[in-house]
Protein backbone atom coordinates (compact mmCIF):
# COMPACT_ATOMS: atom_id res chain seq x y z
CA UNK A 1 0.00 0.00 0.00
CA UNK A 2 1.50 3.32 -1.05
CA UNK A 3 1.01 6.11 1.45
CA UNK A 4 0.23 9.72 0.57
CA UNK A 5 3.84 10.91 0.88
CA UNK A 6 5.08 8.14 -1.39
CA UNK A 7 2.44 9.07 -3.96
CA UNK A 8 3.59 12.68 -3.87
CA UNK A 9 7.23 11.70 -4.38
CA UNK A 10 6.32 9.34 -7.16
CA UNK A 11 4.14 11.94 -8.84
CA UNK A 12 6.94 14.49 -8.61
CA UNK A 13 9.34 12.00 -10.22
CA UNK A 14 6.75 11.27 -12.93
CA UNK A 15 6.40 15.02 -13.53
CA UNK A 16 10.17 15.12 -14.14
CA UNK A 17 10.07 12.13 -16.47
CA UNK A 18 12.01 10.02 -13.98
CA UNK A 19 9.54 7.12 -13.64
CA UNK A 20 9.55 3.70 -15.24
CA UNK A 21 6.70 2.86 -17.63
CA UNK A 22 4.91 0.83 -14.96
CA UNK A 23 5.24 3.58 -12.35
CA UNK A 24 4.07 6.17 -14.88
CA UNK A 25 0.91 4.16 -15.59
CA UNK A 26 0.23 3.92 -11.85
CA UNK A 27 0.77 7.64 -11.35
CA UNK A 28 -1.57 8.49 -14.24
CA UNK A 29 -4.24 6.24 -12.75
CA UNK A 30 -3.70 7.89 -9.38
CA UNK A 31 -4.04 11.35 -10.92
CA UNK A 32 -7.39 10.37 -12.45
CA UNK A 33 -8.68 9.46 -9.00
CA UNK A 34 -7.09 12.16 -6.86
CA UNK A 35 -8.14 15.73 -7.49
CA UNK A 36 -5.63 17.26 -5.04
CA UNK A 37 -2.78 15.42 -6.80
CA UNK A 38 -3.94 16.90 -10.13
CA UNK A 39 -3.99 20.36 -8.59
CA UNK A 40 -0.50 19.85 -7.25
CA UNK A 41 0.78 18.84 -10.67
CA UNK A 42 -0.84 21.95 -12.14
CA UNK A 43 0.94 24.03 -9.49
CA UNK A 44 4.26 22.46 -10.48
CA UNK A 45 3.55 23.32 -14.14
CA UNK A 46 2.98 26.96 -13.18
CA UNK A 47 6.12 26.88 -11.08
CA UNK A 48 8.12 25.49 -13.98
CA UNK A 49 6.84 28.28 -16.23
CA UNK A 50 7.71 30.85 -13.54
CA UNK A 51 11.21 29.45 -13.15
CA UNK A 52 11.80 29.68 -16.88
CA UNK A 53 11.58 33.47 -16.47
CA UNK A 54 14.93 33.21 -14.66
CA UNK A 55 16.58 31.59 -17.66
CA UNK A 56 19.38 34.05 -18.48
CA UNK A 57 20.39 35.05 -21.98
CA UNK A 58 23.56 33.42 -23.28
CA UNK A 59 26.79 35.18 -22.36
CA UNK A 60 27.82 37.69 -25.03
CA UNK A 61 31.06 37.31 -26.97
CA UNK A 62 32.46 40.36 -25.17
CA UNK A 63 31.64 38.81 -21.81
CA UNK A 64 33.32 35.51 -22.73
CA UNK A 65 36.38 37.39 -23.98
CA UNK A 66 36.56 39.43 -20.76
CA UNK A 67 36.30 36.28 -18.65
CA UNK A 68 38.95 34.56 -20.78
CA UNK A 69 41.39 37.44 -20.29
CA UNK A 70 40.74 37.48 -16.57
CA UNK A 71 41.20 33.73 -16.38
CA UNK A 72 44.53 33.91 -18.21
CA UNK A 73 45.67 36.72 -15.88
CA UNK A 74 44.58 34.58 -12.97
CA UNK A 75 46.51 31.61 -14.34
CA UNK A 76 49.73 33.58 -14.68
CA UNK A 77 49.22 34.92 -11.15
CA UNK A 78 48.75 31.33 -9.99
CA UNK A 79 52.00 30.27 -11.69
CA UNK A 80 53.83 33.25 -10.13
CA UNK A 81 52.39 32.51 -6.68
CA UNK A 82 53.32 28.84 -7.09
CA UNK A 83 56.91 29.59 -8.12
CA UNK A 84 57.19 32.07 -5.23
CA UNK A 85 55.97 29.40 -2.83
CA UNK A 86 58.42 26.90 -4.30
CA UNK A 87 61.25 29.44 -3.88
CA UNK A 88 60.37 29.93 -0.21
CA UNK A 89 60.14 26.20 0.28
CA UNK A 90 63.61 25.81 -1.23
CA UNK A 91 65.02 28.46 1.12
CA UNK A 92 63.34 26.81 4.11
CA UNK A 93 64.64 23.38 3.05
CA UNK A 94 68.19 24.74 2.64
CA UNK A 95 68.05 26.36 6.09
CA UNK A 96 66.76 23.17 7.66
CA UNK A 97 69.51 21.17 5.99
CA UNK A 98 72.19 23.62 7.13
CA UNK A 99 70.86 23.51 10.71
CA UNK A 100 70.72 19.72 10.70
CA UNK A 101 74.29 19.41 9.41
CA UNK A 102 75.50 22.02 11.91
CA UNK A 103 73.76 20.22 14.77
CA UNK A 104 75.21 16.89 13.72
CA UNK A 105 78.74 18.36 13.65
CA UNK A 106 78.32 19.90 17.11
CA UNK A 107 76.99 16.69 18.61
CA UNK A 108 79.53 14.39 17.02
CA UNK A 109 82.72 16.44 17.31
CA UNK A 110 84.75 16.26 20.56
CA UNK A 111 85.20 19.61 22.26
CA UNK A 112 88.86 20.29 23.23
CA UNK A 113 89.40 19.95 26.94
CA UNK A 114 90.78 17.79 29.69
CA UNK A 115 89.46 14.32 30.25
CA UNK A 116 89.26 12.93 33.73
CA UNK A 117 88.96 9.20 34.35
CA UNK A 118 87.81 7.67 37.62
CA UNK A 119 86.41 4.28 38.72
CA UNK A 120 84.82 5.37 42.04
CA UNK A 121 83.12 8.57 43.11
CA UNK A 122 85.82 9.40 45.67
CA UNK A 123 88.42 8.98 42.90
CA UNK A 124 86.43 11.43 40.81
CA UNK A 125 86.36 13.99 43.64
CA UNK A 126 90.09 13.55 44.03
CA UNK A 127 90.72 13.95 40.31
CA UNK A 128 88.65 17.16 40.21
CA UNK A 129 90.47 18.47 43.28
CA UNK A 130 93.86 17.71 41.62
CA UNK A 131 92.74 19.41 38.44
CA UNK A 132 91.53 22.55 40.23
CA UNK A 133 94.69 22.81 42.32
CA UNK A 134 96.94 22.75 39.20
CA UNK A 135 98.53 26.06 38.33
CA UNK A 136 96.88 27.76 35.33
CA UNK A 137 98.76 27.16 32.09
CA UNK A 138 99.79 30.09 29.93
CA UNK A 139 98.75 28.58 26.54
Amino acid sequence: MINNKQWKLRTSAWFDGECSDIDSAEVRAHLLEDNSARLEVQQWRDLRADLQLLQPEAASGACIERMKNRFQDGLSHEVYAYSKAVRWLNVAAALLLALSIGGWIVVNSKAPGIEVYAQESNQLDQAIHDFLSRPASND
Binding site: S12, E18, L53, E57, K68, G74
Partner: protein
Protein backbone atom coordinates in the same frame (compact mmCIF):
# COMPACT_ATOMS: atom_id res chain seq x y z
CA UNK B 1 20.46 19.23 -20.32
CA UNK B 2 22.20 15.93 -19.83
CA UNK B 3 25.84 15.74 -19.03
CA UNK B 4 28.04 14.08 -21.65
CA UNK B 5 28.54 10.41 -20.91
CA UNK B 6 32.22 10.45 -21.80
CA UNK B 7 34.59 9.03 -19.26
CA UNK B 8 38.13 10.27 -18.82
CA UNK B 9 39.41 6.98 -20.18
CA UNK B 10 37.91 7.94 -23.53
CA UNK B 11 38.71 11.64 -23.20
CA UNK B 12 42.15 12.96 -23.96
CA UNK B 13 43.82 14.81 -21.11
CA UNK B 14 42.43 18.33 -21.07
CA UNK B 15 43.92 21.46 -19.62
CA UNK B 16 42.02 24.02 -17.59
CA UNK B 17 42.20 26.32 -20.60
CA UNK B 18 40.51 23.71 -22.82
CA UNK B 19 37.82 23.26 -20.20
CA UNK B 20 37.39 27.02 -19.98
CA UNK B 21 36.81 27.23 -23.71
CA UNK B 22 34.24 24.43 -23.53
CA UNK B 23 32.37 25.28 -20.35
CA UNK B 24 32.86 28.94 -19.37
CA UNK B 25 29.59 30.10 -20.97
CA UNK B 26 27.65 27.29 -19.30
CA UNK B 27 29.20 27.95 -15.90
CA UNK B 28 28.50 31.69 -16.32
CA UNK B 29 24.84 30.80 -17.01
CA UNK B 30 24.81 28.52 -13.95
CA UNK B 31 26.19 31.35 -11.80
CA UNK B 32 23.42 33.68 -12.98
CA UNK B 33 20.82 31.02 -12.30
CA UNK B 34 22.21 30.62 -8.80
CA UNK B 35 21.23 34.24 -8.24
CA UNK B 36 24.52 36.04 -8.79
CA UNK B 37 24.62 39.39 -10.57
CA UNK B 38 26.41 39.58 -13.94
CA UNK B 39 29.54 41.02 -12.32
CA UNK B 40 29.57 38.47 -9.49
CA UNK B 41 28.93 35.68 -11.99
CA UNK B 42 32.07 36.69 -13.92
CA UNK B 43 34.04 36.63 -10.67
CA UNK B 44 32.50 33.25 -9.89
CA UNK B 45 33.54 31.80 -13.26
CA UNK B 46 37.07 33.04 -12.64
CA UNK B 47 37.15 31.32 -9.24
CA UNK B 48 35.71 28.10 -10.65
CA UNK B 49 38.33 27.73 -13.36
CA UNK B 50 41.23 28.70 -11.13
CA UNK B 51 40.05 25.95 -8.79
CA UNK B 52 39.73 23.57 -11.76
CA UNK B 53 43.33 24.41 -12.68
CA UNK B 54 44.47 23.62 -9.13
CA UNK B 55 42.45 20.42 -8.80
CA UNK B 56 42.67 18.96 -12.29
CA UNK B 57 45.52 16.67 -11.22
CA UNK B 58 43.34 15.20 -8.49
CA UNK B 59 40.62 14.16 -10.98
CA UNK B 60 40.72 10.37 -10.74
CA UNK B 61 38.23 9.59 -13.45
CA UNK B 62 35.57 8.06 -11.19
CA UNK B 63 32.96 10.16 -12.99
CA UNK B 64 32.73 11.97 -16.31
CA UNK B 65 34.89 15.08 -16.51
CA UNK B 66 31.82 17.27 -17.01
CA UNK B 67 30.24 15.90 -13.82
CA UNK B 68 33.43 16.59 -11.92
CA UNK B 69 33.61 20.11 -13.36
CA UNK B 70 29.99 20.84 -12.44
CA UNK B 71 30.68 19.56 -8.93
CA UNK B 72 33.61 21.94 -8.58
CA UNK B 73 31.47 24.73 -10.07
CA UNK B 74 28.49 24.19 -7.76
CA UNK B 75 30.71 24.07 -4.67
CA UNK B 76 32.75 27.11 -5.70
CA UNK B 77 29.71 29.16 -6.69
CA UNK B 78 28.05 28.25 -3.38
CA UNK B 79 31.06 29.64 -1.49
CA UNK B 80 31.24 32.66 -3.77
CA UNK B 81 27.55 33.39 -3.25
CA UNK B 82 27.98 33.26 0.53
CA UNK B 83 30.92 35.64 0.29
CA UNK B 84 28.98 38.05 -1.93
CA UNK B 85 25.95 37.90 0.37
CA UNK B 86 28.10 38.73 3.39
CA UNK B 87 29.73 41.58 1.49
CA UNK B 88 26.42 42.95 0.23
CA UNK B 89 25.07 42.96 3.77
CA UNK B 90 28.09 44.98 4.84
CA UNK B 91 27.55 47.49 2.03
CA UNK B 92 24.69 49.94 1.94
CA UNK B 93 21.80 48.99 -0.33
CA UNK B 94 22.32 51.92 -2.69
CA UNK B 95 25.97 51.11 -3.25
CA UNK B 96 25.25 47.48 -3.91
CA UNK B 97 22.22 47.89 -6.17
CA UNK B 98 24.30 49.41 -8.97
CA UNK B 99 26.46 46.32 -9.31
CA UNK B 100 23.64 43.90 -8.65
CA UNK B 101 21.51 44.18 -11.75
CA UNK B 102 19.52 40.98 -12.20
CA UNK B 103 20.21 39.94 -15.80
CA UNK B 104 17.19 37.73 -16.45
CA UNK B 105 14.73 40.21 -14.91
CA UNK B 106 15.92 43.24 -16.83
CA UNK B 107 14.91 42.39 -20.37
CA UNK B 108 13.01 44.40 -22.93
CA UNK B 109 10.24 42.81 -24.93
CA UNK B 110 8.18 44.31 -27.76
CA UNK B 111 5.27 45.18 -25.50
CA UNK B 112 6.18 47.62 -22.67
CA UNK B 113 3.30 46.64 -20.39
CA UNK B 114 4.20 42.98 -20.86
CA UNK B 115 7.80 43.97 -20.08
CA UNK B 116 6.90 45.40 -16.73
CA UNK B 117 4.59 42.55 -15.81
CA UNK B 118 7.06 39.89 -16.83
CA UNK B 119 10.03 41.55 -15.15
CA UNK B 120 8.00 42.05 -11.98
CA UNK B 121 7.07 38.37 -11.96
CA UNK B 122 10.67 37.44 -12.65
CA UNK B 123 11.84 39.45 -9.65
CA UNK B 124 9.20 37.90 -7.44
CA UNK B 125 10.17 34.37 -8.47
CA UNK B 126 13.82 35.19 -8.06
CA UNK B 127 13.25 36.57 -4.57
CA UNK B 128 11.21 33.52 -3.65
CA UNK B 129 13.99 31.26 -4.91
CA UNK B 130 16.54 33.21 -2.88
CA UNK B 131 14.45 32.60 0.27
CA UNK B 132 14.88 28.84 -0.09
CA UNK B 133 17.54 26.97 1.83
CA UNK B 134 20.63 26.38 -0.29
CA UNK B 135 20.04 22.64 -0.74
CA UNK B 136 16.56 23.27 -2.15
CA UNK B 137 17.64 26.13 -4.39
CA UNK B 138 20.49 24.09 -5.86
CA UNK B 139 18.37 21.10 -6.84
CA UNK B 140 15.72 23.34 -8.41
CA UNK B 141 18.31 25.26 -10.42
CA UNK B 142 19.95 22.05 -11.64
CA UNK B 143 16.63 20.37 -12.42
CA UNK B 144 14.45 23.20 -13.73
CA UNK B 145 16.97 25.64 -15.19
CA UNK B 146 19.80 23.32 -16.21
CA UNK B 147 17.38 20.49 -17.12
CA UNK B 148 19.54 17.80 -15.53
CA UNK B 149 18.37 14.29 -14.69
CA UNK B 150 18.10 13.11 -11.07
CA UNK B 151 21.07 10.84 -11.73
CA UNK B 152 23.31 13.70 -12.87
CA UNK B 153 22.19 15.91 -9.98
CA UNK B 154 22.94 13.15 -7.49
CA UNK B 155 26.42 12.72 -8.97
CA UNK B 156 27.14 16.43 -8.92
CA UNK B 157 25.90 17.01 -5.38
CA UNK B 158 27.20 13.63 -4.20
CA UNK B 159 23.85 12.78 -2.66
CA UNK B 160 21.75 9.62 -3.16
CA UNK B 161 19.24 9.71 -6.01
CA UNK B 162 16.36 9.00 -3.64
CA UNK B 163 17.37 12.02 -1.57
CA UNK B 164 17.42 14.18 -4.70
CA UNK B 165 13.91 12.96 -5.55
CA UNK B 166 12.48 13.95 -2.18
CA UNK B 167 14.52 17.15 -2.06
CA UNK B 168 13.11 18.29 -5.40
CA UNK B 169 9.59 17.58 -4.22
CA UNK B 170 10.14 19.51 -0.98
CA UNK B 171 11.85 22.35 -2.84
CA UNK B 172 8.86 22.74 -5.17
CA UNK B 173 6.43 22.77 -2.28
CA UNK B 174 8.54 25.33 -0.44
CA UNK B 175 8.98 27.54 -3.51
CA UNK B 176 5.24 27.57 -4.19
CA UNK B 177 4.71 28.65 -0.59
CA UNK B 178 7.33 31.42 -0.81
CA UNK B 179 5.81 32.73 -4.04
CA UNK B 180 2.35 32.78 -2.54
CA UNK B 181 3.68 34.59 0.58
CA UNK B 182 5.39 37.22 -1.56
CA UNK B 183 2.25 37.65 -3.67
CA UNK B 184 0.30 38.09 -0.45
CA UNK B 185 2.74 40.77 0.74
CA UNK B 186 2.36 42.61 -2.59
CA UNK B 187 -1.43 42.53 -2.39
CA UNK B 188 -1.48 43.84 1.20
Amino acid sequence: MTLPKSTPQSTPRQSAEDLFALYSAKIYGLALKCGLSAKDAEDGVQEVFIKVQRKLDTFRGESALSTWLYRVAVNTLRDHRRKVTRYSRAQSLTEYSESNVVPACDRSYSNPSLDAERNERCLLVRNALQQLPEKFREVLVLRELEGMSYRDISRILEVKQGTIESRIYRARTRLALEISNLEGDLND
